[in-house]
Homo-oligomer: 170 residues x 2
């Protein structure tokens, strides 16, 4: 048994509605976290700020003022439903891999800040995440989430890419 | 046992003369690669192009022309000695962690190209590396090695930072 497994590690896995983060979680469960070990998997989903939904057309910063309160409530409820769905899917994946302790966190904010903040606050031993960012245009301005976290999180960061063959089959 | 351990994984660990890469290797051995498993650790050291030694003063591209052949031979022999020392240190670390299959590779070239090329050529299951780049000034121009590899290597990439407390003690 590896030296740190005896006391149990805390592994933060960033999940979202994309298939890549679920692949990263699966890879982690199959390759890093050992069945029936004392490890704890902390599943973290960052709900993006509402302004993100208004796109990158120059109005993003004022996005929260552009919609009526009804629309805002609908969007918030949609975000919550998406986050709950993501967590359920991720927990099911963990369950398939045996008796692993799982904790869940859903936080509001930019994924980069949320992941770095949670890693620091929880003092995790490792962060696992997919490699995707915001898509091509926003990445050009903001950089990828995984690059940011790899640079700013103090503990080891595992960046998992979804293999092309898997991506093409789904 | 995790699903991929039964057939044995190939884990590429980038090492160099810095303490951070040795810390990354140790972390990998303690947390990822399991003692007595069928995993193979491939230790990879990239010997930087000679031009790198001439610095970033605008003459870097012509660095190889600036020195006599005697000096070039001395520098080459120094680079080889450094690489051999790095490999020996890394192999000793592996030996301390049990009966692990270890292979070594020393390649000439920029670390970014060497690591991405080797990962692709060997079809490894995972790349492990320290988080450092070229230092502040060169990183501003060239980007960090780990960011480049995380973006370009197809398999999962684990980026390990040396904790500050450890760094301060050495």
């Amino acid at each position: 048994m590896a030296e740190n497994e005896s006391k149990g590690r805390k592994i933060l896995v960033a999940v979202d509605e994309g298939e890549e983060s679920m692949y990263a979680l699966s890879w982690c469960l199959g390759n890093i976290s050992i069945q029936n070990s004392k490890d704890t998997i902390v599943l973290l989903d960052a709900k993006p700020p509402l302004a993100v939904y208004s796109g990158l057309d120059g109005t993003a910063g004022m996005g929260v003022h552009l919609f009526s309160s009804d629309i805002m409530l609908t969007m918030e409820s949609y975000r919550n439903a998406v986050a709950q769905g993501v967590m359920q899917k991720a927990k099911n994946l963990c369950r398939q891999h045996g008796d692993i302790k799982v904790e869940t966190m859903i936080e509001n904010g930019d994924a980069r800040d949320v992941i770095c903040g949670a890693a620091e606050k929880l003092g995790v031993d490792m962060v696992v995440m997919g490699s995707h960012g915001y898509g091509l245009i926003k990445r050009a301005f903001l950089g990828s989430v995984s690059n940011h976290c790899a640079q700013n999180v103090k503990c080891p960061v595992l960046i998992v890419k979804r293999p092309k063959s898997t991506a093409e089959n789904k």
